[in-house]
């Protein structure tokens, strides 16, 4: 922009650029238009584990019967994996959209899972509290990622890796060999 542009025009152009950036941000991070899967399986798994944690938190805060203790046990058992997933998602956004986009995703994830809970109504606690039995039945922390991948928690308005590109072409991850109990 040249220096001889009238201030009013500069302001209008600046406003237009801001609106354009906002629109781009909505396209990039808005839940309804997000890509379905990450280009990287590692990124995809990080998002899935993060979504699982959020879902379990929604169950714990919504349902009665000492489930908060179950949530705390879940966090204790899988803390390294939860930490890695959280850092992985933050790292993804550090590369793509920054901290604000990360915050937006975390907030939207909680909202979407809460809305799903509300949609299930009185069935929610009876149905979804079984997730604790499942996740604590895993043979070890290494199974958390492969387990989270089967729960379809990144849909209905939120997706992994918004603006992240196409589905992984080598989307294979071998689950750890669990020993029979």
């Amino acid at each position: 922009m040249s220096d001889d542009t009238p201030p009013a025009n500069r302001a209008a152009r600046r406003a237009g650029r801001t609106a354009g950036l906002l629109a781009a941000a909505l396209l990039a991070f808005g839940p309804g238009v997000a890509a379905a899967r990450c280009a990287s399986v590692a990124d995809q798994q990080n998002f899935e584990v993060e979504a699982l944690k959020t879902e379990l938190m929604v169950v714990a805060t919504t349902c009665k019967g000492g489930i908060e203790d179950k949530y705390n046990a879940f966090v204790r058992r899988y803390q390294p994996q939860l930490l890695a997933a959280n850092q992985g998602v933050s790292s993804y956004y550090a590369r793509r959209g920054g901290a604000r986009a990360n915050d937006f995703f975390i907030t939207e994830l909680a909202n979407v899972r809460s809305n799903q809970a509300r949609a299930l109504g009185s069935d929610f606690c009876a149905r979804n509290s079984a997730l604790y039995d499942e996740v604590m039945s895993l043979s070890g922390p290494q199974d958390l990622g492969p387990y989270a991948a089967t729960k379809d928690l990144l849909s209905s308005g939120i997706a992994a890796c918004p603006s992240g590109g196409s589905a992984p072409t080598t989307a294979t991850r071998t689950a750890s060999k669990s020993k029979r109990k």
Partner: protein, 163 residues
Amino acid sequence: MRKQTLNGLGMAALLLIAGCAEGGGLGGGANRTFYADLQGGAKDCTTTPTRVSLSNGSSTDVATSVTNDGGWCGISVSRFAGPYSAGLMVQRPSNGKVYVHTVGSATRVDYTPDPGFRGTDAFAVKLIPGDATMKVAVTVKPAGGAAPPASSSTTAAKPAAKK
């Protein structure tokens, strides 16, 4: 590390639904079939073999055909007449999503193709406890197409109603 407590994100939203949560408890889902799990199935969903039985230490091949109308196609498996504890993704599908969950007294493995996808896909899940693996080859037909039904298969996990 971000603090992993219940006082973290989204608490305001969560409190909105806390009031409707009477009566739910751990284990309450066993042997119950919930309305939500019967909704949203694909109109045309077939699997071969009709009755899938898994065994520890081995991999079982299953073929599924589904019309892509946005619905899921489910494969029910059970262990000693009850559900498995959980499923683990061994191979992700390339063009759809997989959801492993307990429905009544069985574990149901749902595949939902990506919107607009037609063609073939494949995935594999391991069911625990034990190490029974199910490898699924999926044929996705376009919605509204005139693809002929598979001759040697029958309807699998047909939902009661669609969303």
